[in-house]
Amino acid sequence: MFERLAIQASSFAGDIDGLILLIAVLVGFWFIVAEGMFFWLIWRFRERPDQKSQYITGKEKHLKRWVTIPHALVLVCDVFIIIGAVRVWYDVKQHLPEPDTVIRVEGQQWAWVFQHPGPDNELDTGDDIWTTDDLYVEVDRTYHFRLSSRDVLHNFSVPAFRLKQDAVPGRTITGWFHATSTGTYDIQCAEICGIGHGVMAGRINIQDAETHASWMSENATTTAAQ
């Protein structure tokens, strides 16, 4: 059932999963400590005939420690999480490695339109390949995508890449990915875009260099023929 959790098909998928794991360990620790303390106190101080309730104001120094020290430790954990989060965020969303290929992705109700640069590797030339809902990329190449939308908000999300970015009408947003394994993965729309949101599914086909080249020559010629 969870086989797809293991799929990491992009260069930064591992970083994001690592961050999730780091947070899971840190907050998991606090969660278990807090819940454990909570249930133990409930059990220990349940109503018993031989036990009277104590009068504690919370101003007692030796008791106040039990709140202030964990409190400071929470802050320390926060700092670790912030550092991890900002590093991953910088790599994925701020830093932009040099592209090998640039593609254009446009969302519309309710399909993805992909513009591949074709054999000459340049957009907006005669041999561009346009496809709907099927994106073809080559493995181990760095891609930039220029994301826009024709009508409403959409979201270009490839769970296997751990990649997600809103497509905003009127704006062009640039992102990148670097596929690391071949295969066909889901592209989901992750921003509600009308009644067809649930069918706005695309596929990303990651091909090895050879397959990709033959796909490209096949489709570039048919487009030219039309």
Binding site: Q108, T132, R150, T172, G175, I195
Partner: protein, 256 residues
């Protein structure tokens, strides 16, 4: 906020128990406000930017302060009232500065707001009234002019090459195939969500029921224009009349 108030005894709800009256010469303040108003109108007439800004907004601030302090008597009010008002203003400022990097600016790290840049370049078009009263009177004409704007903006985003290299099959696969299917069978990926189902161009029933004019009208103005499904969007903003004719030509190739 209220912790300093000692109130061992209930206060009487006297209407004006704390401040009978303030010794303000209201007439003097009124005259001062009028003088400031005159300055704020005359200042910008000089046409110097910084004078305009100071006279317009600096004086607005001074006038507002005078009204708030003297007419609203905030000067004599308790401090927590002042705090409440200042805090609400601060939150507005927070909102402004939090949003400015995204909305006020038109580009940033890895994003460009093409539409806003295009709108700045386009400038303000003369109102319809300048060219001829009838255009402004006519609601339809106005709508059309606005949709014309759309085209320019889309053109900016997708660059001119797209417009130059218009081909009906490309336009069909980019715009129509989502629902009507790559071969016009009404079986595109979007079709599953639609009720009524999108038209299939591969059936004779479809071609019995339409004229060329009605098809052009639906593509241009949407399905609702012909009493059909409102899910069919209007594409008149995206394609010119001529291009729509070409698309209809292409759709006719699906005819069985």
């Amino acid at each position: 906020m209220t912790e300093h108030i000692d109130q061992t005894a209930p206060h009487d709800a006297g209407e004006h128990h704390d401040d009978g009256h303030h010794d303000v010469n209201y007439a003097k303040i009124y005259v001062a406000l009028l003088v400031l108003l005159v300055i704020s109108i005359l200042g910008p007439e000089l046409g110097i930017t910084w004078v305009t800004l100071i006279t317009a907004f600096g004086i607005a601030l001074v006038k507002a302060t005078m009204v708030i302090n003297n007419f609203m008597h905030l000067k004599w009010e308790k401090n927590f009232i002042k705090w409440a008002l200042v805090v609400s203003l601060l939150f507005v400022a927070l909102f402004f500065f939090g949003v400015a990097p995204d909305v006020m600016k038109h580009d940033g790290l890895r994003w460009v707001n093409d539409a806003a840049i295009a709108s700045v370049e386009r400038g303000i078009e003369p109102p319809h009234g300048e060219e001829g009263e009838h255009a402004a009177e006519d609601g339809e004409g106005e709508d059309h002019a606005e949709e014309g704007d759309d085209t320019t903006v889309e053109g900016e985003g997708a660059t001119e090459t797209v417009a130059a290299a218009f081909s009906a099959p490309d336009a069909y696969s980019a715009t129509c195939a989502t629902c009507h299917g790559p071969n016009g069978g009404g079986d595109g990926p979007g079709a599953a969500a639609l009720d009524p189902q999108p038209a299939s161009f591969a059936t004779t029933e479809f071609w019995d029921g339409v004229t060329r004019e009605s098809m052009v009208n639906v593509i241009q103005n949407g399905g609702a224009a012909e009493g059909l499904s409102a899910a069919m969007p209007a594409w008149g903003a995206l394609y010119s009349d001529d291009e729509i004719q070409q698309i209809v030509d292409y759709v006719e190739t699906f005819q069985p």
